[in-house]
């Protein structure tokens, strides 16, 4: 169970949070992209062996959505919202 830094509350147990998936591509204009581009936007997310930027929701806390950089090999939070690690 990780110890995640919420920008408002500080470090809290992972169990207070809900994982919101990796930060993927910016939502394209659905009326301007090709089918292939749309499918890729929907289904392909970053899956790095290393730091990934991901969203977390402090669901059992202040309700803030925020993102952190977490190393998927070690689970080290390499960059927290407040810049700390």
């Amino acid at each position: 169970m990780m110890n995640i830094t919420c920008p408002f509350c500080g470090k809290r147990n992972e169990s207070e949070f809900i994982h919101g998936g990796p930060v993927g591509a910016v939502r394209p204009d659905p009326n301007a992209v090709s089918d292939e581009e749309w499918v890729e936007y929907l289904t392909v997310t970053p899956n790095p062996l290393g730091p990934v930027q991901e969203k977390w929701w402090h669901a059992r806390g202040c309700g803030e959505w925020f993102s952190i950089w977490r190393d998927t090999r070690t689970h080290d939070i390499v960059e927290a919202p407040d810049g700390t690690t």
């Binding site: 169970m1 110890n3 147990n13 204009d29 659905p30 749309w38 289904t43 969203k55 929701w57 959505w65």
Partner: protein, 956 residues
């Protein structure tokens, strides 16, 4: 009852407090402070176990968690199995049995396996038991496997507890290094959490006879413990094992016998800044022929029994070593009056300072134990030159071995920190830390006291590794893993067959996979592999150290949470009324407990449901709709936001009006359905299905906070601020009038899909005209503090109208009759709004909204769609199982549909069903076929609505 191996004095036991216990049915006596193992040795019990595979006679070899040989099963209140005898504190009335031998260790029928041993080498089961099939053999193999019996019942009394704790520094182990670290951190004012697996602090100092600065080391321990006790910033636990090192320095501790009535064990989750691993070191066994014979022990354990428990495991000792540590052992034993016949030291030359400790004991350098006599107990050991050649027999009844010491690096390794093989220590030691932790003392490879505590006095540690004795003439098996009966020949066989990775060897031979996790033997397996392959140990590497460090009862891990508290449960103010009125309650969505139906005495589900449905269709019913998710949205951008998350247009709503809508996920699947109402210019209220309230909340907040931070929308969850009683049926208006409201209820003043604020029964209320039943319906929302009173009033006033409470079963029937969508039934991750005949809800005007593009894309594939239809069996009394497949012509082949619901319709007086059917919309009037196991039900395909198709009633 004489404890014939108990010394007259000495040891940390209370001779004035005798304890009586039984072992394998016989009564014995021990003392307060004993472990089961020390008491058995005191009583001269040698045969304590039979081994797992060959059922060889075994005795106690160690004195702590490393014990590989003697596992016992406890009876009575503390009944549990597979406990190393060395870790069982002696209690009065304790009753223990050897595991894995029947009828007794002395006479064990399984012993027959010894004669067959040559036919059952490592991995033999991969090669045989194949014909005619494994099933023939499995039952007997399984009976033989397993050790103790499984527990039959939970603890008769008491409960387990799990706690959270926080500290600046956690110290694992209260030996000299751990105590030293605790004193330093404590004095520095840090929040310290000190946990040690033993009954008392001191670690190895309890077993040895050392001094610090001229005083007894145990006095130093006493002072340290006393000082720590005086620090309010220090938590010091004994009988508490740090068994897991998790990510981000979360440490899991299992505390046995906590000082609180009724708490059996306590599990601690400790989040700490720094971890100090002071877990000491474990002595390794020596590997030679018949090295498992009863009486072959770890040298340090013999020393521990003598010094700590005042027990002499035997009378005539021989010691066998490859390092200096046994010389202090020999000195202690001699001082205790034991006859030490000889020390066999495989090193070519023995350091003089070591020899100086044992002036009267013959020391044989460059000599090994080549063989052992005595099947049920050591009678003699054969001293053989390490270079081979003729040996000579030395009589003895105990052979104490020291193969050197392994720093206890389990926690270190669990933290993902790395290990390196230290040539000087001939052991794996901590290398790079990857989390904030450090190892100290023996765990760090500092194997002498002076390097830990200033003034500590003991002998330097000088080792020449001996992974296995390799002299000719050894007849017996040389065991590497005593618990799993893995011998050198097994490892050689594995290597010979090509299982040459250490992980292969471990799995093929099962070496190190016992309950002791090979604490005394793994390194010898690695060494044996290295010798055979002619590579350094570093290259062979270790197998993974996995939590737990020692076995932990599941009860402690679970804490208080099992049973009723496993999942949260939610009540409404009407829950009690429901129970009082015989409702059958069960789990609904989002952990709510809801009434399924309200049977009269002697009434079954169907009769009750029919009654409730008839009331709604012909008179009036009421249900508690409180669990529906409800949110208030505020801000200028709410209209834009709702237009984005709903598939239809909400922004055009006038204050007081509402609309039904669908929420789609970005990949075009149906997320939820619900209604949105505009309260005034900038305030909105939306309601969601019960089951998806949390998901929708998360969905909305995520969009607003991560995608559209500049949109001005503020969301407040009011699910529990507004409970509702939903009055539905032709007489709903009359009943609500009678309940008394200041709201004009006339259809003109208060039409369908609108919202009014006012009072009902004198309570402030929000009344909403929505309908999930297809009837005239008022959803009366009041504050929970008024809900019970409102409910009573509605039931009382409604009585003359024949009002009935309606459970979720009836709600299901009523919505099916109307063909209203239910997420749990019709929506399973493939259908879209068009399939459901709800194309009207997919806005054509809006250029973009969540899911629009994906739905278009999916439909552009041109594949056939499964569309919602009604189905009617020819026989009105024919029920169709919900979930049953439809197949072409009813043949047993790929399905072309699915029955999503089937209910007894009171208005049609027959069974009616809903189904998702390929091209269903085009197949109205045709016959489709429901495929059952041995039967086919032909059904007529209809529109998915069986009551008031024009929807006049709900608008009335």
């Amino acid at each position: 009852m004489v404890q014939r191996n108990r010394r007259a004095s000495g040891g940390r036991i209370d001779r004035n407090r005798p304890l009586h216990f039984t072992f394998n049915g016989k009564l014995y006596e021990g003392f307060e402070g004993d472990t089961l193992a020390s008491a058995l040795l005191a009583n001269g019990i040698r045969l304590t176990a039979r081994s797992f595979k060959y059922h060889r006679p075994r005795s106690i070899m160690g004195h702590g968690v490393e014990e590989p040989a003697t596992l016992v099963e406890l009876d009575g209140e503390d009944a549990s199995g597979n406990r190393p005898a060395t870790t069982v504190p002696l209690r009065d009335g304790l009753s223990a049995r050897s595991v894995n031998c029947w009828p007794s260790p002395e006479f064990d029928l399984g012993g027959i396996n010894q004669l067959l041993s040559r036919f059952i080498p490592a991995g033999f089961y991969y090669k045989t038991f194949k014909w005619p099939n494994w099933h023939l053999f499995e039952p007997s193999i399984r009976r033989a496997a397993g050790l103790a019996a499984a527990p039959e019942s939970p603890p008769a009394s008491g409960h387990f507890e799990a706690r959270n704790a926080h500290a600046d520094v956690l110290i694992a182990g209260a030996g000299p290094a751990g105590l030293q670290a605790a004193l330093e951190a404590g004095r520095a004012g840090k929040r310290v959490f000190l946990a040690d697996e033993g009954a008392e602090a001191g670690g190895s100092l309890l077993n040895r006879n050392l001094s610090i600065g001229g005083r007894s080391a145990l006095d130093w321990v006493e002072d340290a413990v006393a000082e720590l006790r005086g620090m309010e910033n220090v938590t010091h636990l004994q009988n508490a094992t740090v068994w897991a090192y998790r990510e981000h320095n979360l440490m899991i501790v299992n505390e046995r016998e906590p000082e609180l009535d009724g708490v059996l064990e306590r599990s601690w989750r400790v989040r700490v800044g720094e971890v100090v691993i002071a877990t000491g070191a474990t002595e390794r066994a020596m590997v030679f022929g018949d090295n498992d014979r009863p009486g072959v022990m770890l040298a340090s354990s013999v020393q521990a029994y003598v010094n700590r428990w005042g027990v002499t495991p035997g009378q005539r000792m021989v010691l066998f070593t490859n390092n200096n540590s046994v010389y202090a052992v020999a000195a202690d034993l001699a001082a205790a009056g034991m006859q030490v016949e000889a020390i066999l030291d495989c090193r070519k030359t023995v350091p003089p300072e070591a020899v100086k400790l044992v002036p009267d004991i013959p020391v044989h350098a460059a000599t090994v134990a080549g063989d052992v006599r005595g099947r049920k107990g050591v009678r003699a050991v054969k001293a053989v030159p390490v270079t081979g050649g003729a040996g000579r027999w030395i009589d003895c009844d105990v052979l104490g071995c020291s193969g050197g010491w392994n720093p206890t690096v389990h926690l270190w390794s669990q933290s993902r920190s790395t290990l390196r093989f230290d040539e000087d220590l001939a052991a794996f030691v901590p290398d790079e830390a990857v989390q904030n932790c450090r190892a100290v003392g023996a765990a760090a490879g500092d194997l002498t006291l002076d390097r830990i505590v200033g003034g500590g006095e003991d002998l330097a540690y000088a080792i020449e590794p001996l992974w296995r004795v390799n002299v000719p003439g050894q007849r017996g098996k040389a065991f590497l893993d005593v618990q799993n009966d893995v011998s050198v020949s097994d490892v050689h066989l594995a290597l010979r067959e090509g299982y040459d990775n250490v992980e292969h060897v471990k799995r093929y031979t099962t070496g190190g996979m016992g309950i002791d996790q090979g604490k005394t033997g793994n390194i010898n397996i690695i060494g044996t592999v290295a010798m055979q392959k002619g590579v350094p140990l570093q290259e062979v590497g270790t197998t993974t150290f996995r939590s737990p460090y020692t076995p932990v009862s599941f009860g402690a891990i679970g804490g208080l949470r099992e049973g009723w508290r496993l999942f949260p449960y939610r009540h409404t103010p009407v829950t009690q009324w429901n129970k009082d009125h015989g409702a059958v309650m069960y789990e609904a969505g989002a952990r709510w407990r809801r009434p399924g139906y309200f049977p009269k005495p002697g009434e079954g589900l169907q009769e009750a449901v029919n009654r409730e449905c008839r009331a709604v269709r012909e008179g009036v019913g009421v249900y508690d709709g409180s669990p529906l998710g409800t949110f208030e949205l505020k801000g200028r951008d709410v209209p834009k936001f709702l237009d984005f998350i709903y598939s239809n247009i909400m922004s055009t709503l006038k204050p007081g009006d509402g609309r039904y809508g669908l929420m789609l996920s970005e990949d075009g699947l149906i997320l939820d359905d619900g209604v949105a109402f505009r309260l005034d210019e900038h305030r909105w209220m939306i309601s969601t299905s019960t089951g998806h309230a949390d998901a929708v909340n998360q969905h909305m907040e995520k969009l607003l906070q991560t995608e559209f931070p500049d949109w001005q929308v503020l969301i407040t969850t009011v699910t529990s601020q507004w409970n509702n009683a939903t009055i539905c049926g032709p007489k709903a208006r009359e009943v609500l009038q009678a309940v008394d409201s200041d709201i004009d209820l006339s259809p003109e003043a208060f039409p369908f899909m609108s919202f009014r604020e006012g009072t009902v029964a004198g309570f402030p209320a929000r009344v909403v005209r929505v309908s999930f039943t297809g009837e005239l319906s008022y959803e009366v929302n009041v504050a929970p503090r008024h809900m019970a009173a409102l409910w009573d009033k509605v039931m009382e006033v409604g009585a003359p109208f024949g009002i009935l409470p309606v459970g979720s079963e009836s709600s299901h029937v009523l919505r099916v009759e109307k063909g209203f969508l239910s997420l749990g039934h019709e929506v399973d991750g493939t259908v879209d709004a068009y399939d459901l005949g709800m194309g009207w809800v997919m806005s054509k005007k809006k250029p973009d909204y969540l899911g629009k593009r994906s739905v278009q894309l999916r439909r552009s594939g041109g594949g056939t769609r499964r569309e919602l239809v009604g189905i009617l069996a020819d026989d009105p009394n024919q029920q169709i199982p919900e979930g049953a497949p439809l197949t072409p012509g009813g043949r047993k082949e790929a399905t072309d549909g699915l029955v999503t619901a089937c209910v007894w319709s009171v208005v049609n007086n027959r069974w009616v069903g809903l189904a998702l059917l390929e091209d269903g919309h085009a197949r109205q009037g045709e016959t489709a076929h429901v495929r059952l196991k041995d039967d086919v039900i032909p059904v007529t395909v209809t529109k998915p609505v069986f009551h008031d198709p024009e929807g006049k009633l709900l608008r009335s």
